[in-house]
Amino acid sequence: MALLELRDVNTYYGSIHALKNVSLKVEAGQIVTLIGSNGAGKTTTLRTISGLLRPRSGTITFNDSPIHNTPAHEIVYLGLTQSPEGRLIFPTLTVNENLNMGGYSLGNDKASVESHRQRVYDLFPRLAQRKKQLGGTLSGGEQQMLAIGRALMANPRLLMLDEPSLGLAPLLVRMIFETIETINQQGVTVLLVEQNARAALRLADYGYVLETGGIALEGPADELLHDQRVRHAYLGEA
């Protein structure tokens, strides 16, 4: 049984049909990536999974229990967190406070919050140096680290990352992707949404290609990497 499974999910924005019969699976321990062009529905998929949007039909199961009717804040308690697109850290909260909010679901257990925070600081030593700084004053790369770290605070089984490389310099992108691999090796399943298809497919075990709201292709990541259509449409090759 897959850790996360979407079956025939349809999501609407008002009258706009944004996701059409999307079905996908994320097996425990894997890195699964979701690629596609702008407006294909990648972010919508993540927002639907994390409960910010409600599917009009279809089912989503996480860890064998249905979550498509569960409020977003309760899904976090099940071990499913998301680092949203555009980072969206809390700009007027300090780095520490941002992380504390990530660990909100841990409750008043100070020791456990502390230990998870330490884990984040181990992953991103640069954040540790900026503990007391306001989130809004960090550089773009640091903000991305903070966003990922914040999503890790809740001790998730499945971490969803939405465009972690967006707007970052190449050097930082590489560093972020390396960290994602580390996180995965620590036992966290990852669902990665990326525009940078090549890097994502290289990192991932399995991949899905979204086109205009529906799954167009799926397969093991290295197969997709060599698929003609993918190469043509997403990897910028002739």
């Binding site: 409020p71 977003a72 809390f90 504390n100 999503a151």
Partner: protein
């Protein structure tokens, strides 16, 4: 100099009341970006409820007036807090994504309804708190004729305690930080596992509860009130919140004191500066101050410079 000091004390007292009421506006604005026009009337309901309790149920306790007022204040805070939560639930929550015009109408509607009930309950008359309430407290003489009455000291003390307490709560506790997070971004807060609706309910409990407390304090301090109190006083307190930078707790406090003191000084020294009828013009001067500050600093004195989403 003595006059100046005395007027300063007068201004501080009024400013303290503005500040406590402004806190309610500022907190609600912070989490919902909503001008809660009903807040002034909830504050007035606090005065009304305090009057109701003190003249009926607690009338027998008045020999121990400090205790009676304390108990009444707590009961009123709980009541007005629950009222605030109910209003949020009924009038604001269904409109949370309905644009920015509709909640204003809804808030004004709630204010009308609250005022109508209060008018009918109070029979449209000025109502008076029991005479001589908390009059036995020791006064503080500073110099010459300048001094603070015991009641003034108590009121200023309560205001200060409330503000500091609230500030610490919001800055230091987990729930308080969650409130700040919610005020920044509802959706991301949800992704953190924060139950946004519950936090908003809490804000709608605390803000009105503080309003209720201010209501009882004003009733005790000035002795009489009528049902239009909330509208006028609420609008001023709201201006105080904006002056300081709405959504910002120290800002609301600062705004309250600036407004209180500047109003007082206009009345005190306006005539000397050739401004006849200064007291009649003082509200206009408060508004001019507001406009001047917003033109030069659109987000208020302590306002955050984070661009507002339109």
């Amino acid at each position: 100099m003595e006059t100046f000091l005395q007027q300063l004390i007068n201004g501080l007292t009024i400013g303290g009341f503005y500040a406590v009421v402004a806190l309610g506006y500022t907190m609600v604005y912070g989490v919902l970006k909503l001008i809660n026009f009903a807040h002034g009337d909830m504050f007035m309901w606090g005065t009304l409820a305090g009057w109701g309790l003190l003249t009926t149920v607690f009338a027998g306790l008045l020999d121990l007036d400090l205790i009676a007022v304390l108990i009444v204040a707590i009961v009123v805070m709980a009541f007005i807090g629950l009222l605030g939560m109910t209003i949020e639930r009924v009038a604001y929550r269904p409109l949370r994504s309905a644009g920015r015009l509709s909640p204003i109408i809804s808030a004004l509607g709630a204010a009308f309804a609250l005022q109508a009930v209060a008018r009918n309950v109070s029979e449209a008359r000025w109502r008076t708190y029991p005479e001589g309430l908390l009059k036995e407290m020791p006064d503080l003489h500073l110099s010459g004729t300048v001094g603070l009455s015991g009641l003034q000291i108590l009121m200023l003390g309560v205001c200060a305690a409330v503000m500091i307490g609230l500030y610490l709560f919001v800055q230091r506790t987990r729930i308080g930080t969650a409130m700040r997070a919610v005020s920044l971004d509802h959706n991301v807060s949800r992704l953190m596992g924060i139950n946004v609706d519950r936090i908003i309910s809490l804000v709608f409990f605390i803000g009105p509860a503080l309003g209720g407390l201010a209501g009882v304090m004003i009733g005790t301090y000035y002795g009489s009130f009528n049902f239009t109190l909330g509208w006028v006083f609420g609008l001023k307190a709201f201006i105080a919140a904006i002056l300081g930078g709405i959504g910002n707790i120290p800002g609301a406090v600062l705004g309250g004191f600036i407004l209180g003191i500047s109003e007082t000084m206009v009345v005190a020294y306006g005539p000397d500066l050739g401004l006849v009828d200064a007291s009649a013009w003082k509200d206009a001067i408060a508004y001019v101050l507001l406009i001047a500050i917003l033109i030069t600093r659109p987000t208020g004195i302590l306002g955050e410079t984070v661009a507002e989403k339109v």
